[in-house]
């Protein structure tokens, strides 16, 4: 490799790496016309996905999602706050996506990036529109105290399809979130039930002891899939290398029944035909099933680990 780089082969033939740098579009086209991607995937296959739960012990719930080399870490902190005056029977969920400067070579420290703000807005409206977390579940004592749930999403490695990875990390973290039982005394003082004591009470089968930890009931499980259109072909789950070359990208978010929660196509030179749209939705439906299975496995594994 090093020798080859030092002495370019005769005949002026370009090295694959140099060709990729100089003509990224033609490089990708060479692959796509043969029905392949530069990373060896077929066009309609998403990258290997993994979900790790409970990776940060200072957070109340956390999830590390990997989509190929895209890595996203979501952490949830639940805090007790005075009930909001306008909605006394609801708590609040705040979501924030941060693209740490270490996530890619293009990221700059300092001001938060546009991409992070866009993702924050998209995911927040998806959670709201889908009714994923009902604010009433976050109520502790109507009119007095409620939960403030903060979901912080850190993009650690940005290698394309960030929307899908971030949404999955948020979903996984929220699915594994357990809220402490909280008691409010007459003076308005709030005490969190001790998780260890309550676990002991639960295991000894003590009657009357309310469960100390409560899982959130999620209204639905949104999963998204990003599809790119490239020279008339559909590329599922594009990488950061492919993304800037695509004619258009379309992100479809579906719930577990196959209902559409969100579609997002921002510009792009290729206009989406109706047929293309249906193709994306179909792919997103299949992908959703696959991803939800993974999530179940991860939750199961986390539960078993917690019991043992």
């Amino acid at each position: 490799m090093a020798a080859a780089a030092a002495a370019p082969p005769p005949g002026g033939e370009l090295q694959a790496e140099a060709f990729q740098r100089l003509y990224p579009d033609q490089y990708l086209a060479q692959f796509v016309t043969r029905g392949l991607r530069p990373d060896g995937r077929p066009l309609a296959l998403a990258r290997p996905t993994s979900i790790g739960l409970g990776v940060v012990s200072t957070a109340d719930a956390s999830a590390l999602v990997k989509l190929g080399s895209t890595s996203v870490l979501a952490g949830v902190k639940a805090e007790v706050m005075p009930a909001p005056a306008d909605t006394p029977d609801r708590g609040r969920l705040t979501l924030q996506v941060e693209m740490a400067p270490l996530c890619s070579a293009d990221a700059r420290p300092g001001r938060p990036s546009e991409a992070a703000a866009v993702l924050t807005q998209q995911l927040t409206s998806l959670l709201d529109a889908g009714g994923v977390v009902d604010g009433r579940q976050l109520c502790i004592d109507p009119g007095r105290v409620a939960w403030a749930v903060y979901v912080d999403v850190y993009v650690l490695d940005a290698d394309g399809s960030l929307h899908d990875a971030c949404l999955l990390a948020v979903l996984a973290a929220l699915s594994s979130l357990q809220l402490h039982a909280v008691t409010v005394d007459d003076a308005g003082r709030v005490t969190k039930a001790d998780s260890d004591a309550a676990a002991a009470a639960a295991s000894s089968g003590q009657p009357g002891g309310a469960p100390a930890m409560r899982r959130l009931q999620l209204g639905c499980q949104p999963v998204s899939l990003t599809c790119g259109v490239y020279r008339g072909q559909l590329l599922i789950d594009p990488t950061a290398e492919e993304e800037p070359l695509l004619d258009a990208t379309l992100t479809a978010t579906l719930d577990e029944q196959g209902g559409v929660l969100g579609l997002y196509k921002a510009g792009g030179s290729a206009t989406s035909s109706h047929e293309r749209l249906l193709q994306c939705l179909e792919a997103a439906k299949l992908r959703g099933k696959e991803v939800r299975d993974l999530l179940w496995q991860a939750l199961d594994a986390a539960d078993t680990a917690a019991l043992s």
Binding site: I51, L53, K66, K77, Y150, A240
Partner: protein, 267 residues
């Protein structure tokens, strides 16, 4: 609160001169030129290095040496109470400067004129000693990025509580109000002190005792990092020897080699 029990054990069961368990993994982020995940007990830090590369701001370009840029950030969920830490946070600025100065002294910047090295550290989970963990993580990431350095740099803190010098304080001990001496050394250059921070009242004799303990801790950290780097390099060498066909086909990946990936098991 009792920080040292009558039998001489600390709150987390360690002896006074014992470090917390360390874990490190290199090359965890594919997009960075070098990256490392470093853990010291419950403190987890991720560092990424981009560069050496051309200087972005032409006005900052130095024709004699490289420009080192550094940023330190804490995840909002990394501490007990969630706190939004602004980028202009004074504590973060101070730690950023401490890290930058330490690594600037370690990188052979004069070998990289007109270039820039970016070092980003992100605290994922904080339990005391983040400053030192960040320096260690940054060093490992720089080594993974093959940035030329004059020596290793290893960092560790020591404190003094209940008349006992304690090595590598955790959060509870740090909050105990005693002095905290953070040290970074170049272990192969006669334990040269690169960073020394101490900001509370401490008798000179005690200070010397605590400093000595911290330096001894640094040496242990250095030995651990040396071992990690050796294993990492051996792994890369083995991979090359095996003539990894995939890596060859992909053009060798620039020699960086992200053979190990960030995994949930790493946490």
């Amino acid at each position: 609160m009792e920080f040292v029990s009558p039998v001489g054990l600390r709150l987390d069961g360690r002896r006074p001169q014992e470090l917390r368990a360390m874990r490190a993994q290199l090359g965890v982020l594919a997009s960075a030129d070098g990256s490392a995940l470093f853990e010291m007990g419950n403190t987890k830090v991720l560092a990424a290095v981009f560069g050496p590369k051309p200087v972005e701001q032409r006005s900052r370009e130095d024709e004699k040496r490289a420009v080192v840029r550094c940023e330190y950030a804490m995840a909002a969920f990394s501490t007990g109470e969630r706190r939004r830490r602004g980028k202009a946070d004074r504590r973060a600025t101070e730690i950023t400067k401490a890290i930058r100065n330490t690594i600037e002294q370690t990188i052979l910047t004069e070998l990289l004129p007109r270039s820039q090295v970016d070092v980003y550290v992100q605290v994922l989970q904080a339990d005391g000693g983040t400053r030192c963990a960040c320096i260690n993580a940054a060093f490992l990431a720089l080594a993974a990025a093959a940035v030329p350095m004059c020596d290793m740099v290893a960092s560790c803190a020591a404190g003094y509580l209940e008349s006992t010098p304690l090595l590598d304080l955790n959060y509870t001990e740090d909050a105990g109000g005693g002095p905290d001496v953070a040290v970074a050394i170049h272990p192969n250059l006669g334990d040269r002190l690169v960073l020394l921070q101490q900001d509370s009242r401490l008798a000179v004799d005690t200070f010397e005792e605590v400093l000595e303990l911290a330096v001894a801790g640094c040496r242990k950290v250095a030995e651990f990092m040396r071992q990690t780097l050796l294993e990492h390099t051996q792994g890369l060498a083995a991979q090359r020897a095996a003539g990894d066909a995939a890596a060859e086909a992909a053009g060798g990946g620039g020699g960086g080699g992200s053979d190990e990936e960030l995994d949930a098991d790493d946490f």
